[in-house]
Subunit: 364 residues, 2 copies
């Protein structure tokens, strides 16, 4: 399953539709096949680097009871083809409202249209953005040694220099497929909180250390993950993640960034960053840097124990198991801004340089 | 209460501290006075254009039981003075962690330090950013005919041209006080959802209509509100709000943007945009444009009835009372992307031009 050009995706849609049409004209029952989208259909291969589908499919046959879903799927495919051919796009919400003009095939609630969209995405083995359906939310700010090449509405090339935004930043668009990059940075630092991102921008961190700073603002959006992945592939420089030292930071943010998630396994291939490494904050950092902490909450403990037991990524990596067990034993979590206890510049002058000197020891 | 320069704020902090010191040296009990921060201490003056404090103060006297809070307030003032003098800043969370080095004056939880910070802010009649405390979250994306002038870390002027971001955007920094602007735009459009912002960027709306597009991404952050306010003051062009047609859009987003909120009345003066007008979506638009809707939820109805009864802004403006009553009678809410039912370009080709032709009829 490789990246496909827009005309190739449009052709695939046509081909699938034609097969269905032929069957109908022959008075046979047409079928559609989509991969099962759940954790039970997922495996982790460390060499591939992401959660991958095992191959279970669900087959939908046109019958009296499936006729509406069948029609909706075909209409959604048709909308996608139209968007590709007119170089337009639609948000998930817009797609839902467009369906209000599909007569009886209209959706009554947006979750229904979202599900069909996910099915179409998995069916064609492409990501939603290639079908020209874009996420509602944006997310991800950039500062540092990166030149992004985009196009204006007349198709003219625009060079966006991410060193020239002062205290502000470049905000990643919702569809990053068409962007090009150029950079001589030495590494990419993906940061959980906007607060820490600001701190590093304020202290000119990217300039002094020749890197690219990315503010994920919590769990990274699809666009943000895809953006980092494309940088990782094309610039061939390391990606380091700097997040809070708690189960949410370890699994919901870092694990999702690196290998993807279970319920969207059909798109992990495009949206994960297998080469990401974990810079911090680790439980050991709490000891080494005498950081102020908070006690683990019930939900933290539950999430950590679940991960040890059920998360294929954690089960594969012994160093992660050790780190999680250490955290559970210490009974505390730590925020990435806790370094401020030692002075606002401590993170820049002490922690980051000391960590980067030993980057071979980062958690996988 | 006017905008103050950084040295003026630092001097004010010194003066207050000296008065307290003198009293202590004379073995008298020092006091500190901060305005009461609640809806009961707020009035709406349409000519001033924002929720304003009525002037109730709480006086804190140094006693055995207040000694810790007293010390924390002085330490917080001292931290602010230091940040001003070193041209640094601290996020709310960083300020909390810095206190971990204040010995017995350290805070045990961040809400405690946030409260003291709010008190200091109100005490000096300045906004937190002037004290060099910046919000954790960023927020607000810009595209269109605006040049933002910021400075790099060496103090060199940087011109950021918001027409040159292609499908991306300029992300507003958390502290916008130091920015300068230049623009020949005709109006500013503040948009609730990132999805609608993308739609207008995709269709090149700002170029064709010579305007500035701002994505608020839900309830606008402090930085976003302050940014729009400064544009409104300095460019002297209209600000139009385009939000979902529901009580959340009307009150939590639009009302907060225009006149501020009750529990932060000490800073509404700086953070509201009194000249903002309401473009849509109105209940009448639902009828005029045959828009698909959703039934009002319980919480919507409650919020609307509360507003009619208790919101000083709504009680002042008859057209808003009429609009809310119309919404309650229709029993429906509408999302700003509902126009997609008539085609993705309907909002740009029909709705916006028709509305802007009659901008005298916008809700206040």
């Amino acid at each position: 399953m490789a990246r496909q050009t827009a005309p190739a995706v449009a052709d695939k849609i046509s081909d699938t539709a034609k097969i269905i049409q032929k069957k109908i004209l022959k008075k046979q029952k047409p079928t559609m096949s989509t991969p099962v989208r759940s954790l039970s259909n997922v495996a982790y291969h460390a060499n591939k680097g992401y959660f991958q589908m095992k191959g279970k499919n669900k087959i939908r046959t046109l019958t009296v009871s499936t006729v509406k879903t069948f029609a909706q799927t075909l209409k959604m495919m048709s909308l996608s083809k139209e968007l590709i051919e007119t170089d337009d796009m639609a948000t998930k919400r817009e797609a839902y409202y467009i369906s209000k003009n599909w007569g009886k095939a209209g959706f009554s609630e947006q979750p229904e249209s979202d599900t069909i969209m996910d099915d179409v995405e998995a069916m064609f083995g492409v990501n939603r953005e290639q079908l020209k359906f874009v996420p509602e939310e944006k997310g991800g700010d950039i500062a540092g040694r990166l030149m992004v090449i985009d196009r204006d509405s007349q198709g003219k090339r625009l060079k966006i220099d991410c060193t020239k935004f002062g205290s502000g930043a470049y905000s990643i668009p919702s569809d990053v497929e068409g962007l090009e990059f150029s950079s001589k940075a030495k590494f990419i630092l993906a940061i959980e909180t906007a607060g820490m991102f600001q701190r590093l921008v304020k202290y000119n961190y990217w300039d002094i250390n020749n890197c690219i700073l990315i503010s994920m603002g919590g769990v990274p959006t699809r666009a943000c993950r895809r953006f980092i992945r494309r940088l990782s592939d094309e610039l061939k420089i390391p990606v380091y993640a700097f997040v809070d030292g708690d189960p949410y930071g370890y699994f919901n943010i870092y694990r999702t960034l690196k290998v993807g998630s279970g319920n969207a396994a059909h798109l992990n291939e495009f949206f994960c960053v297998p080469k990401a490494r974990f810079l911090g904050v680790t439980p050991q950092d709490v000891i080494d840097y005498k950081l102020p902490t908070h006690p683990l909450k019930e939900v933290d403990i539950k999430r950590a124990k679940d991960a040890l037991k059920n998360d294929p990524f954690v089960k594969h990596h012994k160093p992660w198991q050790a780190a999680i067990n250490q955290m559970l034993k210490m009974g505390v979590r730590v925020e990435q801004q806790a370094f401020a206890k030692h002075g606002l510049d401590f993170v820049v002058k002490n922690y980051m340089p000391e960590k980067l000197k030993n980057n071979g020891k980062f958690l996988p």
